[in-house]
Amino acid sequence: MSKVHISTTVNGEAVEFLADTRDSLLDSLRDSLGLTGTKEGCGTGDCGACSVVVDGTLVCSCLMLGVEAQGKQIETIEGMANGDALHPLQRKFIEHAALQCGFCTPGILVASKALLEKNPDPSEEEVRYWLAGNLCRCTGYDKIIRAVMDAAEEMRGAA
């Protein structure tokens, strides 16, 4: 079993880990770095629960090898709140009760944040298409969409 030494940046912090070459980035985040907020749903890029941002691009961490993280800037759900202050998206998800079991929530929050950074004023249709790769089996999506739209509005007002 070959292991590779990887140096990378996660949520602004320089980190190092040893990656089995077969590990996905999701495996590395959860098992090597202890960042278990990123969830494994399907492991095949279908459900979006493992969404992270790598060098500014939203990706499924299950579809990337841990060794590919060398020298990258990675953002996960653990970097979303500012200390005890929740990100507006996180607050709005609570206000709108946009979750039930919560398993898909980290991925949806990371994906929604990536959307609002790219497009601060999305239409409902744009939100739904952007989040089409994030599956939720509890909510029926409506509350999620409303929470994202409400957070976007608040963030535009704050900007």
Binding site: S24, L63, L115
Partner: protein, 288 residues
């Protein structure tokens, strides 16, 4: 599994040529990692091409064409306004592949090499007359996209060959292309039938065309007789009827859980009609 990270395509090709076991090139990884996870493929050597300089860039050829590096993602293509303006059909095909997350990684070359008959980006490339630059230890050659797929999951590339980039020709005056697929859902689905048409017009008359069909044969297919049905016409009702008949006859689909052969042969005609109208409108400079 050995992870290789070469800095040029010659080295990448040489590693693959000299490897003794199962080898996979890694660009976006959106198929390779799924196959590994499913246990369908267990590579001994994985060759990551993403650190090769220029592999993630879209550049222009001297005559106005586009060279799309093998690691350029669908999201990058959609963000390139010049590419979208010149080849909207190629871009809209690629953008149908997977979710936002998958678009951040998935590549044209990967969609092509994965060898799915239903690959959404491939009909548009074939209709456009695109070529792939193939690098091996022996050198570099360019081949037409339609000569690469060999069957479901198979390509005509041999051990030690790797796609470095895909070249789209210059758009030129009076050109338009389009791609549509049929799926039961609007997103996150696999084409039941796909159709891409690229054409050029002089005045109102179609002077050249290429028609490619997806998911109706073991590979994506170029159908020259479908192009012949509309070349020399103004895409009038008779030309459209002829086009619909020809593509339906050319389709050799299977029946599976996504659709029966009869259904696919019918739908391919409907899609061809719609795609031809969009491509024709784009060639006339109308916003579609």
């Amino acid at each position: 599994m050995n992870y290789h990270n070469p800095s040029n395509f010659s080295d990448a090709a040489r590693i693959a040529r000299d490897a003794s076991g199962v080898t996979r090139f890694l660009a976006g990884g959106t198929d390779v990692l799924v196959q590994m996870r499913a246990g369908a493929v267990t590579p001994h050597d994985i060759i990551d091409i993403k650190n090769i300089p220029g592999v993630d860039a879209i550049t222009r050829t001297a005559d106005g064409g586009f060279i799309i590096g093998a690691a350029v993602s669908g999201a990058q293509m959609g963000a390139d306004a010049d590419l979208v303006a010149a080849w909207p059909g190629v871009v809209e095909g690629m953008e149908l592949v997977g979710s936002t997350q998958v678009q951040g990684r998935a590549t044209l070359a990967g969609n092509l090499c994965n060898g799915s008959p239903a690959a959404d980006s491939v009909p548009g490339l074939i209709a456009a007359g695109a070529t792939a630059q193939i690098v091996s230890a022996d050198g570099v050659r360019d081949i037409a996209i339609e000569d690469i797929p060999a069957g479901p999951g198979r390509s005509n590339l041999v051990k030690g060959e790797v796609i470095a980039s895909i070249t789209l020709p210059a758009r030129g005056q009076g050109g338009g292309d389009a791609y549509l697929r049929f799926t039961p859902r609007t997103e996150m689905d696999i084409a039941v039938v796909g159709c891409a048409i690229n054409l050029t017009i002089d005045g109102d008359v179609i002077t050249s065309a290429r028609v490619a069909l997806g998911a109706v044969a073991p590979t994506v297919v170029l159908v020259p007789e479908a192009a012949d049905a509309i070349i020399g016409t103004t895409l009038d009702d008779a030309a459209i009827a002829a086009l619909m008949n020809v593509v339906s006859a050319a389709a050799k689909p299977i029946s599976d859980k996504r659709g029966t052969a009869e259904f696919r042969k019918d739908v391919v005609g409907v899609l061809a009609k719609r795609v031809a109208k969009i491509a024709y409108a784009r060639a006339r400079g109308e916003a579609v």
